[in-house]
Every structure is written in C-alpha cells, then in structure tokens.
C-alpha cells in the first residue's frame, strides 16, 4: 500500500465520523453509557472490597497466658506465633497497657476516681498477644495451634466475624464478576447493534466501492478506523467524568463522615483509575474495532 493511500484511508475514517455524525454520536453515547456503568460498578465493588479488607486486617485473635508465666516465656511464644504462615503481625500488650486501654475506653471521664479505687493494676495476668491474620479463613487453624501451645490459658477469637467476612467477600467477588460480565456482554451487544445499524445504512456505499474495484482492505480500513476512534472517544468521556465524580464524592464523604474514618477506607482515585483507565480504553477501542471489523465483513462479499 502506498503511503498516500494509507493517509487517504485514515482521512476517510476521520471524515466518516463527521459525515455520519448522528450515527457517530449514537455509538459514542452507547459506548460511554456502558463504560460509565461499568466504571461506577467497578469503583463501588473495589471500595467495598477495600473496606472488607480493612475489616479483615483489624480482625485479631488474643492470646492470654497462665498467670505465673514470665515475660521471657511469653516472648518465646510470641516468636513461635510470628513464625506461623497465617500471621501478619503479633503485637505484645503488657498488663499496664491493658489497664490503660480499659481506663481510656470505659472510664474516660472518671479516670481519677478509678485510680483511687484501684491503686494497683487489677489486670495482673492479662498480658497478651494480639495476633493479626493474613486471611480470616486461616483463623480456625491458627486458633487450634495457639490453644495447643503450653502456657496458653485462653485464646479469644470471633469465629462468627471471620466466617461472615469470608462469606461476604466471596459472595461479592462472585456477584461482581457476574455483573461485570453481564455489563460487558450487554455493552458488546448494544455497541455491535449500533455499529450494525450504522453500517447497514452505508451498505450501498460499501457495494459501490466494491463494484469499482476496491479491495476489502481499502473498504475496511476507514470503517475500522472510524470504529476505533468512536470507541476511543466513547471510553475517554466516561473515564473523565468518573474521575471527577469519584474525586468529588471521595472528598465529600471523607469531610462529612470523619467519624467513620476507621471503617470507610476508600481507595484513592489513582488506585481505581490505574486499572479502570486502561481497561475502559481497551474495551472501548476493542469493541469499536471488533464491531466494525465484523460488521463490514458481512457486506464485503459483493
């Protein structure tokens, strides 16, 4: 192919968009709407999973020791705990730290009364290890191990929470994968329908080109290029809109709901759009390319 022909076909692809502006706008709107929905859903799901992950990270098992055990033996057990695969972190809490925390949490404004009533630390023998898990699903096996350790008096756990988190997380993964798949299928259907409609209108144009000796390639390139450009624009618009909306919502929620800061750990825009931008662009361009390629092929057998 000559360079001049190459540029001519590119020029035609761009010109096609403007010649068929209503069809182009309809296609761009369809792609944008589908990718916008996909983007919203992805942002919601990934934030929900981030919140769950945050909760999972906060899930811990507390290990209490026999009352007469010295700190060195406790640290020895701590080393054994940290060596386990299930453990992400094991934090030692002394008796004094336990008492301080109880005072703060429960008697914040009556601290002085409390100190008078309890001149000695009443939490003797309550030194413990707070053990954080890598995965709440591993809690059962870890607890069994901890309970088997000599010198361990009690292991506090919340099987219910762990199982709920595991269940919810799994359910969300399945549902979101399903919905994303459905959204993509619907998008492909809608977009290829729009492309089909647009090309049917121009079937005559393709026929004319073929009758006067245009090769399949020569006919196809402007249409495919048009499809790619429409897909690209259709992808850029929702990404741009979503970025601004997401940023705004994030700012609003973090300012208004500071109380829930410990719970609502939202993903920063950069993290969401690091995935969403390339995926949306690839889906938009891919659908534009495939839609036009396949649909033009149908009309090339002239």
């Amino acid at each position: 192919m000559k360079i001049s022909t190459f540029f001519y076909t590119i020029k035609q692809g761009i010109a096609n968009i403007f010649h068929n502006k209503w069809y182009s706008l309809a296609s761009i709107a369809t792609i944008s709407a589908c990718l916008f929905l996909f983007g919203i859903f992805y942002a919601l799901v990934s934030n929900f999973q981030s919140i769950l992950q945050n909760l999972e990270e906060k899930l811990c098992v507390t290990v209490f020791f026999e009352e007469d055990m010295d700190y060195d033996s406790m640290q020895e057990i701590g080393r054994m705990i940290r060596a386990r695969d299930e453990v992400s972190e094991a934090r030692f809490v002394t008796e004094d730290q336990v008492w301080e925390s109880v005072k703060q949490d429960w008697f914040g404004d009556r601290m002085e009364e409390l100190e008078e009533a309890y001149p000695e630390n009443p939490m003797k023998g309550e030194a413990n290890f707070e053990v954080f898990l890598k995965d709440p699903e591993m809690q059962e096996s870890l607890v069994a191990y901890l309970e088997s350790l000599p010198g361990v008096r009690l292991v506090n756990k919340s099987m219910m929470t762990a199982q709920t988190l595991v269940g919810v997380n799994r359910m969300i993964s399945f549902i979101s994968a399903g919905i994303i798949l459905i959204l993509l299928v619907v998008s492909v259907f809608l977009i290829s329908n729009t492309v089909t409609m647009g090309i049917s209108v121009r079937k005559e144009e393709i026929n004319i080109m073929k009758y006067i000796g245009a090769t399949d390639f020569f006919v196809r390139v402007p249409f495919v290029l048009e499809g790619i450009l429409i897909g690209l624009v259709g992808a850029v618009i929702p990404v741009f809109l979503l970025y601004n909306i997401y940023d705004g919502v994030l700012r609003f929620v973090t300012e208004r709901f500071q109380v829930l800061d410990w719970l609502l750990k939202f993903k920063p825009s950069a993290e969401i759009f690091r995935f969403l931008t390339p995926v949306s662009l690839c889906v938009g361009v891919g659908i534009g390319f495939l839609g036009s390629f396949i649909t033009v092929r149908k009309h090339l057998r002239v």
């Binding site: 001049s4 022909t5 144009e205 073929k210 006067i212 000796g213 399949d216």
Partner: protein, 247 residues
C-alpha cells in the same frame, strides 16, 4: 519466457480466438431453485458494442452480475479478458473489476462526496499518484461535459448529470470493457440520447461496450449487435439487429 509472460500470452491468444467475453454453457440457478440462465453461450470481441435486451426475468441482470463476478455460475464457464471467473478467488475480484467500467441505472454515486471526489475515488482505489489524479479527473469530467460542476454535490445534479459522473468514474481508469445496466432507465429521452452518444464515442476509442437495456427506440436506432434474451436463453444474436417485439 517467464511463467507470467507465458500466462499473459495464452490469455491474449484466448481473447483473440474467443473474445474479451466468452460464456460456455452457463447455467445459473438461484438457491430458491429458480433457473435464471439455462445454458447460454456467447462470445463478445474486442471493440464491439453490444445491446443485451429482453423482458424482466429474461436473465439480463443475472448475466450482468456474472460478468461483474458478483455471482458465480452454477455450471459452465465465464471468461472475461481471458480469466475464468468461475475459478476466480475472492481476493482477486477487486483487481479484476478494475478492468471493467460499470454504470448502473441508479447511478450509485457516493452521496457524501462531490463530483470530483466520486471520479477521483476510482483512481484512488488503483493507487494512481495524486498528480495524475489531478490531471485525469478534470479531463474525464470535460469529456462527459461536466467540467464546470466538479465541486457540486451529487444530489445537486440532474439525473443525466449524475449518470455522466458515473460514466466518468467508470472510464477514468481506462477499462477494456464497459458494462452498463439500464444506463438510460432513469433518464428523459434527451439525456438518454446524450448518454448513448457518449457510450458510442467511448466505443469508437476502442472500449468494448455492453449495454443491458429495455429501451427499444435506442436499440433500433443505433444498429448495433443485439442479443435478445428470453427465459434464461439467448433467442437471437444479430449484428445490426433490432429489438424483437414479443407481441
């Protein structure tokens, strides 16, 4: 002699012996079962001007589509310029059609482009250098009498003018054969005659012209070779013939 040269020589010999168009026992049956052509044989030689006439359903359009290689014969052979169309692969069709000029009853112009662009498009397809396009297209438009309207959109032209643009587009690549399917079907008598005179002029310059038509007056007045078709068969083929009145 290389293989390609040998092939070309054989093709030339075939054209000399059997004509630029040669049909041998061609049968075309459509998937629904209707027989459009029932075993026709035909030779058209270089430089001829041929009318293909007959009533609707006679098989004229099927013949036209076979020559365009839009359809494939169910059996028999169709040779055009020494090439066997029944064995032609899809990817070769585009190149084959560049040797043909085609004119339709409904003009089939690219509506979103102007007169110049419509004619230039045929040259762009064959990758003619831009400089040559700029020289050839105005010359061709001048030949069909549309030099002053090169910027006009096709929907701003009359039927006769649109057909002239179609003719210019068909001829700009110097085809060996010009196929015209009812070229005057949508035109008034004056425009019809003007188009026919243009076709005659083109034929005088050496192009083989095949015109499928219903226009009795024109056929009878021009005294060219007339192939009369009926029910998928050639019922008469006469030099200087006339349109047979079936009544």
């Amino acid at each position: 002699m290389t293989r390609r040269e040998l092939k070309r020589q054989r093709r030339e010999e075939m054209i000399e012996q059997s004509g630029v168009i040669c049909l041998e026992n061609v049968i075309k049956t459509y998937p629904a079962g209707s027989h459009a052509l029932n075993g026709i044989s035909l030779n058209i030689y270089r430089g001829e001007f041929v009318f293909v006439v007959g009533q609707s359903g006679a098989g004229k359009s099927t013949l036209f589509k076979l020559l365009l290689r839009e359809l494939k014969a169910t059996s028999g052979h169709v040779w055009v310029m020494g090439e066997d169309l029944s064995r032609m692969k899809h990817r070769r069709i585009a190149k084959y059609r560049r040797n043909l000029g085609v004119v339709f009853q409904d003009f089939r112009l690219l509506k979103d482009r102007n007169v110049y662009e419509n004619v230039a498009f045929a040259q762009r397809i064959v990758e003619t250098p831009r400089r040559e396009i700029r020289r050839n297209v105005p010359a061709m438009l001048a030949m069909v009498g549309l030099a002053g309207k090169y910027k006009a959109k096709t929907n701003q032209l009359s039927g006769g003018e649109q057909q002239r643009v179609a003719l210019a587009r068909a001829l700009v690549n110097n085809p060996s054969i010009l196929l015209a399917d009812e070229p005057t079907g949508n035109l008034d008598p004056q425009n019809s005659w003007e188009i026919m005179h243009l076709l005659e002029e083109i034929n005088d310059q050496g192009t083989t012209v095949i015109v499928v038509t219903h226009n009795k007056e024109i056929v009878n007045a021009m005294h060219k070779r007339v192939i009369f078709m009926k029910k998928g068969l050639i019922v008469s083929d006469e030099e200087g013939g006339e349109y047979i009145d079936e009544d």
